[in-house]
């Protein structure tokens, strides 16, 4: 708390800043020493499995949970002690959380009436939001008479009319069916491009994270495991957890020893030419070699990759656009994503190959990228 006095932070390019945030419920530490800078107009996704603290962090930013230690800045203002309504945020919840006894219009205007916004201003803001979200015909209805997708639009509208700097989304699409979820995802992306607000979005769905985010923060156990663009997260995961978490099916991991510029597996040698090292060479040490199912190539794409080997097929899952193959490679189970037209049968042994530049090496002890 004394930090505020001695070290008043003046920031303009950052919309939300989180400094050394701690949150405990009794003896349970939910967030530990968390730091995060979110740029103005950025779409940041907090991604993680349930219980990783992502929703808790969002609630802290919203002011709905009191932090144990640390500071939160929004637009350069220390809001650690501020009421949720005074923080310049709007929030959208998974269960929509519309006030059931009010009409859509009442839901949209509730916050503005509390803030004593003049009536004309309320009208024009509702009109604008209803326009953008195409909910004008619904304004006189009650939430009970709306479909799931319409309810979530209204909930987004309720955040929009507040004219805030930062939007907080707490798994907003998780209650919708698959098709609607995909539609609203695109709409959200359009909305972000149009409004240009800062958006912080919590989800456990990596497709949502990859498609929406400017940057993704992957969380585990109350800490951020990696913060980066979707491409960085996908191509250069910083640790074993992120590598395993992102991608479906997840990355294949093989074990081997690094010697003389190559990884030596059980019956395979992979020269690591073209691999972008994150640190020193682990000469003579054991490493975990990770390669994604879609980066193992077969058929006529084989000549383009430097490393070639063989895989014995156990099981084939045709998915239409592509075919998922469960196989044995270097004595381990691996997934391979083949083209939908591939004709393979269990028991076949097929030539496969990959480019080590697309692989990831990890230290088995620290689980960090090498």
């Amino acid at each position: 708390m004394t930090d505020t006095m001695t070290n008043p932070r003046q920031t303009t390019e950052h919309s939300v800043e989180i400094r050394n945030l701690d949150l405990s419920f009794g003896a349970v530490k939910v967030l530990r020493d968390l730091n995060l800078d979110i740029r103005d107009g950025e779409f940041l996704v907090l991604l993680g499995s349930s219980g990783c603290g992502k929703s808790t962090l969002l609630n802290c930013i919203a002011g709905l949970l009191e932090v144990t230690d640390g500071q939160i800045f929004i637009k350069g203002k220390n809001v650690t002690w501020a009421e949720p309504s005074a923080r310049g945020i709007g929030m959208v919840f998974q269960s929509y959380a519309l006030y059931p006894q009010m009409t859509v219009e009442g839901n949209l205007s509730f916050g503005l009436k509390n803030a004593r916004v003049p009536r004309d201003e309320i009208k024009s803001r509702i009109k604008r939001a209803a326009d953008i979200l195409q909910i004008e015909p619904l304004l006189k209805r009650k939430p009970g008479a709306l479909s799931g997708g319409q309810r979530q639009r209204v909930a987004i509208g309720r955040a929009m009319v507040r004219d805030v700097d930062v939007f907080l989304f707490d798994e907003p699409l998780s209650n919708l069916d698959a098709k609607l979820r995909a539609d609203l995802r695109v709409e959200l992306k359009r909305l972000h491009e149009r409004l240009d607000n800062t958006m912080i979005y919590v989800t456990h769905d990596q497709i949502e994270a990859m498609t929406l985010a400017d940057r993704i923060a992957i969380m585990k156990g109350g800490a951020i495991m990696q913060l980066g663009t979707p491409a960085e997260i996908y191509n250069r995961p910083q640790n074993l957890y992120v590598a395993d978490f992102i991608g479906s099916p997840s990355m294949n991991f093989l074990r081997g020893t690094y010697r003389d510029g190559a990884v030596h597996g059980a019956d395979m040698m992979v020269p690591m030419d073209g691999y972008a090292w994150a640190g020193d060479w682990p000469e003579g040490r054991e490493v975990i070699f990770g390669i994604r199912p879609e980066h193992i190539v077969t058929g006529d794409r084989l000549p383009s990759v430097p490393v070639k080997t063989e895989a014995r097929i156990d099981l084939v899952e045709p998915m239409g656009s592509d075919t998922l193959v469960y196989a044995q490679m270097d004595g381990r189970d691996v997934n391979i994503r083949m083209e939908g037209t591939a004709e393979v049968r269990p028991g076949d042994t097929v030539p496969v190959g990959f480019n080590p530049a697309r692989a990831s090496l990890f230290d088995p002890e620290t689980e960090k990228r090498l």
Partner: protein, 309 residues
């Protein structure tokens, strides 16, 4: 599918009509049905018979009652006993019937019900949505209050009422009813508000509503079912109360139940069974009316107020 049914048709020709198809037929007079409805009928008769006797007796004149035919319908219907019970029956020195007790009861009932529900609903709302340090302990203490027998507190309350000058006053009885309604009503409201999604409360806070704003604009409008339950509980409880009424009031301010007792149990003169029956029915009318009016809402509220977290 069509192959299979073709096969079946060939194999058991002539039994096509008995092939299972559509809703499964149910026998109306199955053993289970006879048992269920038989039991229901028996229990209904058991409970309704006394009521029948009361109504019939209250419509008879005394000569007819003396003939002893308890279950027979009245030969000559008379409303005289009802009029007497309401306006003429004597208790002590007053001979204006139950009407005095009725108005006393109304004066006790209305403020007690309103006051206890208003306070308990705010209590329940605060205890479920604005948890503070020690709120669980506070709640536990309140609930323990529901398990202490009233009798142990009778005399201490007499002293307390005397000290604040409300002994024998209707206001004192209102206070007692309000306090004793608190544990169960608070529990009821707390559990109901706890069942309302927390996100709704969070959304309202983001929207800038405060403690009272959320209470009046979000929570209360959603609390209708549980309000009905609370009203019913309190109306029946307070209206039927005898113990507090007889102790904390005086003859001029006796509630209806106490006055009913004084009419029915008077040892002087003839026992007027028809007047007694009419008086008892009159006293029971208010809770009965409440049950009939509330109907479905009551069931909904009971289900919603079920004990949770």
């Amino acid at each position: 599918m069509s192959n299979v049914s073709d096969l079946n048709m060939g194999a058991i020709a002539g039994q096509i009509d008995s092939e299972p198809r559509g809703p499964r037929p149910r026998r109306r007079f199955s053993r289970a049905n006879i048992f269920i409805y038989g039991t229901l009928l028996l229990v209904s008769v058991y409970y309704l018979l006394p009521l029948y006797v009361m109504i019939v007796t209250s419509l008879k004149g005394m000569p007819e009652i003396r003939m002893g035919n308890v279950f027979g319908p009245p030969m000559e219907i008379t409303f005289e006993p009802w009029v007497k019970a309401w306006a003429e029956a004597c208790t002590g020195i007053n001979c204006d019937g139950l009407s005095r007790g009725f108005w006393n009861s109304v004066q006790i009932l209305v403020p007690s019900v309103l006051l206890s529900i208003v306070i308990a609903s705010v209590n329940g709302y605060a205890l479920s949505n604005w948890k503070f340090r020690g709120s669980e302990l506070f709640f536990t203490i309140l609930i323990i209050g529901a398990f202490i027998p009233y009798q142990t507190m009778l005399y201490p309350i007499v002293i307390m009422l005397r000290e604040i000058g409300l002994m024998g006053d209707l206001g004192g009885l209102v206070l007692v009813h309000t306090v004793f309604g608190m544990p169960i009503l608070t529990l009821l409201f707390r559990n109901y508000f706890a069942s309302i999604p927390e996100e709704l409360f969070k959304a309202a806070r983001v929207d800038g509503a405060g403690f009272w704003g959320i209470y009046f604009q979000i929570m209360l409008p959603m609390a209708l079912p549980i309000l009905v339950v609370a009203v019913i509980l309190q109306v029946t409880g307070i209206w039927n109360d005898f113990l507090f009424g007889v102790i904390y009031t005086k003859p001029e301010t006796y509630p209806m139940t106490v006055q009913l007792n004084n009419i029915v149990n008077s040892v002087q003169g003839v026992k007027e069974y028809n007047v007694n029956m009419a008086a008892t029915l009159l006293t029971g009318l208010v809770p009965l009316a409440i049950y009939f009016v509330s109907g479905k809402l009551f069931v909904r509220g009971i289900a919603a107020g079920a004990v949770k977290g």
